[in-house]
Amino acid sequence: MSSSSAGPTSPPPGPWEIALASARGKAHEVRDLDNQDAGRWCADARAIVLAIADGHGHERHFRSGRGADLAVGAACEVALPLGARIADEGDQPAVEALGRYELIPALLASWAAAVEADTASHPFGPAEDGLAGHYGDPPVMAYGSTLLVALVAGRWALLAQIGDGDIMTVDPTGTTRSPLPVDPVLDGVRTTSLCQPDAEAAFRLAVVDLLATPMTVLLLASDGYGNAQVDDIWQPAVGADLLALLRAHGAGWIRRNLPDWVARCASAEGAADDTTVALLLAAAPHGPTAEADTVVAAG
């Protein structure tokens, strides 16, 4: 990542609108399992946080749905208070450092504390004890989950991810970007996780300077979304369509339709996996928006 020299004279990007939807996968329905994904957003006058998480399905992670829920809760709790500092920051390396050395450690600490509290308030039953014993796992392993977080404040989008899933930006021309570095460890079978001992090192981080690289749409998706797409390289078509739909119909229309899109991806038509998508949408995407909606300022 390179430092941006864009000056602070431009107005901060935004305001933004948010759409979030999650659906239980058909495979989970067949197995009578809950949706083990989670999604949440929060905002204040200076910042917006989007977070999604995908609990691992393996039996050793028998509380992963809870782990995912705790993860998105931790993301909002930890990231939002950093928003004002990031919004006021003019230096990209400083934002990166804040993400790497403050946000990620705090996320992990908050999640670990929440897991510990959950284990204390809801002790493992005999079957859960048996599974943990079978694998020789500490309690935290039961809560294994991915986590994708976007903290958007002022001119910056700070993106952090552990595990599989996708974070994508779309600029006003419809060009899509995946700002986070590829993790070669993710092979579709195994994933990095909040519950692994070296989770801090496994986090990927990116900072987008929204003045240098304008962003009209930000998408966070669990792997159920990408795995449902026919195209191997699905991002360009999805990004272009999202931008066109945003301009034609507005954010409210996308918000109302997103649950149906997500449900189709989670169905037997698609990947059959739990699917969660969070979208940050420019409220004025360089074109008419057909409907007025709740607007979240983050500048």
Partner: protein
């Protein structure tokens, strides 16, 4: 809906069938019958589970391997063309593994494809030139998709239950399936196909798979999707 559309995730199922000279007569007939019998089971599973699209390919091998079905073909639309044995053909497995590896090389499978399945069926020991079995197996297992593939083997006759098949499977918890006679080939292939279809994706519990293979009536629960575990 944004994008180019959605579809089920593909499950690539590659059959490696021994067509050496020793397969002539009843064995090759039984094998053809067995594969033709197995395919509807896979198609039924695909229809009932509604979770994946099974794509079939097949390699016939003897002195040299060749694609019997080269283009991944949806199991629901596949009509099996009988294999033929090769007169005095040898059982060269290494080159068959190499050919399978070309289909699993990086970029050959969809990114979203489920864990592929390979089913090796043979009635004999490998007769590869020195070093070729090992080289072929290494070429296959060195690939990310080859290494993580669910690899099953059916031995036609006890004599075919060799160390070579165990090395192909490369998992001590997964047994070689033995068909003691031609009548049992179909049963073994059905068992293998059911196991492969149910267990091909993520977080495969090999011990449970072995149990399922040894006791086909056990383990009815579908265990195909969303069984990620950590690195």
């Amino acid at each position: 809906m944004p994008g180019g559309g959605i579809s089920r995730r593909p499950l690539h199922f590659i059959i490696l069938a021994d067509c050496s000279g020793s397969m002539r007569g009843d064995k090759i007939q039984a094998l053809n019958f067995a594969i033709a019998d197995m395919l509807p089971h896979l198609a039924n599973w695909e229809r009932d589970q509604e979770l994946a699209q099974v794509m079939i390919r097949a390699i016939a091998f003897a002195d040299a391997p060749q694609w019997h079905i080269e283009v991944p073909t949806p199991v629901s639309s596949l009509r099996w063309t009988p294999l033929r044995h090769v007169d005095r053909g040898r059982t060269n497995m290494g080159s068959a593994f190499e050919l399978a590896a070309t289909a699993l090389a990086p970029g050959q499978l969809e990114r979203r494809a489920l864990r592929p399945a390979l089913l090796l069926i043979t009635d004999g020991l490998p007769t590869d030139p020195p070093g070729r079995f090992d080289a072929g197996l290494e070429a296959l297992l060195a690939l990310p998709a080859g290494g993580r593939a669910l690899r099953l083997a059916v031995a036609i006759g006890r004599d075919a239950q060799s160390d070579a098949l165990t090395r192909f499977i490369a998992d001590v918890t997964v047994p070689v399936l033995v068909a003691d006679n031609t009548e049992e080939i179909a049963d073994r292939l059905v068992a293998a196909s059911i196991a492969a279809s149910r267990m091909s994706e993520v977080g495969v519990d090999r011990a449970a798979l072995a149990q399922q293979l040894l006791q086909p009536a056990v383990g009815e629960g579908p265990e195909l999707f969303d069984r990620d575990t950590i690195v």
